[in-house]
Symmetry: C2
Subunit: 220 residues, 2 copies
């Protein structure tokens, strides 16, 4: 079955499945069932089978899915067989932390370069990488057309950073800023919203205090 319309939710889960499969591979497992994947990802086995069946029949009735094969197929679907390079805009504490640690091993992605507009920072080192001038972004994206940019600038500078990236031809952005950004139709921007996650946790914690019997969420 060829995928026509696939929801973002499904794509997110495919990413989770791929991560679980890499883990299973490390542990030397060669077969997984939908139930195992489901349990590791905290969802139902039917959802796993439904997600995978959108793209093909990867499983074998009676046994399950071959770990290596399914992983190869998922990476093909996601496009992560050969992951694009990642560049970081903003050499503040978060930008540098990402550059140095790769956020504790973000499967397959490599952080290629880090940029800042502050002349005082340019040339200094972030781990082993020199901080480069924001003016160089254009050239780097030209040389290396498929790039994901991470925006990790200080508050208020997000839109300027994004505009610079768009002008340089960048098509995919992950933003750590909280500002509502003006984004053209052909650019994909995703957000890491730590403060929203904290709000959701606060809400849940304080609601439970008021009524401990309440379930976590209405839909689960």
């Amino acid at each position: 079955m060829i995928a026509e319309k696939v929801s973002e939710k499904t794509i997110r889960r495919l990413s989770h499945y791929a991560r679980c499969l890499r883990l299973a591979k490390l542990k030397g497992e060669s077969i997984v069932t939908s139930r195992q994947l489901a349990s590791n990802c905290g969802i139902s086995s039917a959802a796993v089978r439904r997600d995978l069946s959108i793209y093909g029949e990867f499983g074998k009735q009676g046994s399950g899915y071959n770990v290596d094969d399914l992983l190869v197929n998922l990476e093909k679907i996601l496009g992560t067989t050969d992951p694009p390079p990642v560049i970081i805009i903003g050499a503040g504490s978060i930008g540098c932390a990402l550059m140095v640690s790769g956020l504790n091993g973000t499967g397959g992605y490599s952080y290629e370069a880090i940029f800042d507009i502050d002349p005082g920072k340019i040339g200094k080192l972030c781990g082993e990488s020199p901080i480069r001038s924001a003016e160089e972004i254009h050239g780097v994206i030209k040389d290396n057309h498929e790039v994901i940019a991470v925006i990790a600038v200080t508050r208020g500078a997000g839109q300027a950073a994004l505009d610079l990236l768009i002008q340089a031809g960048c098509k995919a952005v992950l933003s750590f800023t909280l500002e509502p950004l003006k984004v053209p139709e052909d650019i994909e921007v995703r957000y890491v919203e730590v403060s929203t996650e904290l709000d959701v946790l606060t809400h849940s914690m304080r609601r439970k205090e008021r009524d401990p019997a309440m379930p976590k969420w209405s839909h689960s």
Copy 2:
């Protein structure tokens, strides 16, 4: 209308609305319409009105919503009028970056303390905060019952960190680790999944290359 069952999606959006309202307040605006909120959050105005109407009738027909009043009400609903303190587990690059920068101003939350198990790190400074021994977590949570813990440990140490927190009585956790964690029913854990976000971006970018006419997602 009293809220009986509210989805997590709605709560996330309430957090977005609150952020927009704080911005509007800074700009000196005293009234916002559902259309303005919607445009800033990238959704439809009907969705905004629906979300807000779950909890009450905050708007005025013909004009819109009073910025101050709505913000107060949203913070009451979210429980963020007086936000809980946040502690950080793991004084690696991300943990320290969070501690130092507060992730570029995460509205209202204060990062109270940072912990690590590495004896070589304990006592050293992370910005102005001394890195404390993980053994002290228990005492800190006892003193300050409502706490959100952020897990920012190295790969593989996530479950140990979580178990420690649970034992100390922590009920709300935000994890930057990618491992599938075993979580008791009464603990709320949320994840910041940078590598999944990158996967989604990669998928979207590479699918567009193959078929530029395709819309971003099936449901929008």
